[in-house]
Amino acid sequence: MNTNKFIQQREKAARKWDRLQKSRVPLIYLGSASCGRAAGAMDVLAAVKKTLKDRSLKAKMVHVGCIGPCYLEPLMDVQMPGRPRVSYANVTPELAKRIVVSNLVKGDPMGKLAVGYFDGNGHGKIPGIKRFFDLPMLKPQVRVVLRNCGFIEPEDIDHYIANDGYSGIVKALETGPEKVIAEVEEAGLRGRGGAGFPTFRKWEICRNSPGETKYMICNADEGDPGAFMNRSLIEGDPHAVLEGLLIAAYAIGASHGYIYIRAEYPLAIVRLEKAIGQMREYGFLGKDILGSGFDFDITIKEGAGAFVCGEETALISSIEGKRGMPKSRPPFPAVCGLHGMPTIINNVETLGTLPNIMRNGAEWYSRLGVQGNRGTKTFSLVGKVRRTGLIEVPLGTSLRKIIFDIGGGTLKPFKAVQTGGPSGGCLSEEFLDTPGDYESLAAAGSIMGSGGLIVMDEDTCVVDLARYFLEFTQAESCGKCSPCRVGTRHLVEILKRITRGDAEPDDLIKLQNLGETVKRGSLCGLGQTAPNPVLTTLQYFRPEYLMHVKEKHCEAAVCRELIEYRVVPGKCTGCQRCVDVCPTGAITGPRSEPHNLDPDKCIKCRACYEICRFDAIAGDAIIIRSMRESDEQAN
């Protein structure tokens, strides 16, 4: 093995990084991952560029990934020479201009507007501004996998190398594959894609399976609708995932790797392509990597929109150019996978963890988390929680800590949290102190899954949620086995009846029985877990089902057929804003007098409700409520 070239690359990268930290021109950081862009980062960028040009100011743009608190996007930071980097949130183009001018022209960091500063570059602090990592959302987090996200330019391999990047693979190549597997075993790493299978074990099986070619696949399909951990990591630190892929491939003896990534993530794909090109250029891919005799190359395969392709055997069929149908296991892919060869599939986050384990050692890693559940886990914290975004905490952190301390709780009273996406379960308040580890969540009837957390408050109807998930899995069922194909369809029909108010009391028993049948009888994980959202909501939120069935009442005012829109006469000032936006002419009434809403004409499009809340004089004179409540009032 020959690391001379790597040592030179590392020195060069360190110099480049150092120059950036000590930059003599101001640095302007912009979070330009997909979430930042969706929030308007590109308009902010244009405004910054224009301001710099108009005012003949000099500054260097630094394009970083997402640092996590997406609810603060677009985030923009300014680092003046010799000063710490200061962060500003929810930046509009107008605000961006002010921030630039104030910092660059007046030397004023506008302490009141700043959300936090970053220490760590040796430039001290700024009075009146908090440390960014002391913000309530950040403080309880432990960032291992996400350590570079928001700090380095994902499109620059030197930034990664300067931050100890690729030293994990160097260490792996020095110690040999058996030692790598032993290290991962000692670290206690379990797969982050959902099932939590010990990573070392499947590697060992694959390594020991005969086969002239072995394959290493990165599962970046991220099928859980409502979760984005993998997207964010790839967009923010693609080389970490690629280095992990390299380490895993070396451990199992694979010569070719694939990244199977969903087509809905175009920016992540572009970043991976660029990063792979840089790896080739630097000699981390190809023949005889770092003179170790290890040959490896990577191909990107774009998914084509099928949830089931996240399942490993279906994923393999898809790479082979077939319909993505799962196969019954055994044989497991580790023995007989892609093209019949031993194949390992690991999730993006599992791979992103590996360089950290190799670099810092198993002992360091296993200090994080709890017995049997070592290390950290990223979660995408979304739904009706105040602070939405991507977070990372040690395994075993309670749901309460995640939702309330980190997420800041809900605006309206908390109702439930869904973990594990469509395969997971919906947990009620009494489970908030459940530790976030694989076994505890499973014992509660849910699963850890890949890290999606959907928080719900009293405005969410759990029956509607169960219907939503079952419609999703039913549509995504590949149709190969009948318990899943037919069973999920029946479950959807029953749930639709309930949400429409057409159900019979024994429908709940049918739901339960059918759900258990589908769980037992299905061929792959999709069907085996599809009933979980129904079964858990039935168990923990039975009164809500009963209300739908017996009283045709949807307390959360969500189920379309059971709700209506009403004008509150005492509040309506007759401003006519709702009359203007109503597409069907359901609202009438002269100016300055309370309006009339004709329920027969109302199509429940929500326009009047919104306009009344945000744009009208009265504020909230239009309400959405369960019809039962309206009846009560009428009587």
Binding site: K301, A304, T388
Partner: protein, 150 residues
Amino acid sequence: MTEREYARVFSRYAGEEGDLIPLLQKVQERAGYIPEDAVGRISEFLKLSENRIYGVASFYSQFRFTEPGRHSIKICLGTACHVSGGQILADAVERDLGITDGQTTEDGRFDFRRVACLGCCALAPVVQIDDVIHSRVTVIRFKEILDEYK
């Protein structure tokens, strides 16, 4: 797509079975959909039956067999968007443009797709028009956004 365009696309692939999905994706990227003649050409190139190709293409929701509109509307109905009112936005498209999932308006202006998760769940509900993702979309704002494309 012209003969030459097909040739250019094909020239990048070895002609193995595993190239089928990437080829379909490339064709759709160029033409906006999978035209009828593409299936025959791919069948010849990969030496797979047309039936096989239709079987695979129809399995994956990404592939469409009708011409897209000038602008593509994608409404996210992932879980985060669902609990934040994504369905109401989808209803608005169906009502105002008279098209359902997978269809194109008669004037060829818009096509519409329901998708499950664009990965911006923290900013739900989310709508994508062409390459631009709009976040925290309300019914009223959605109407304004659509008007910009009319």
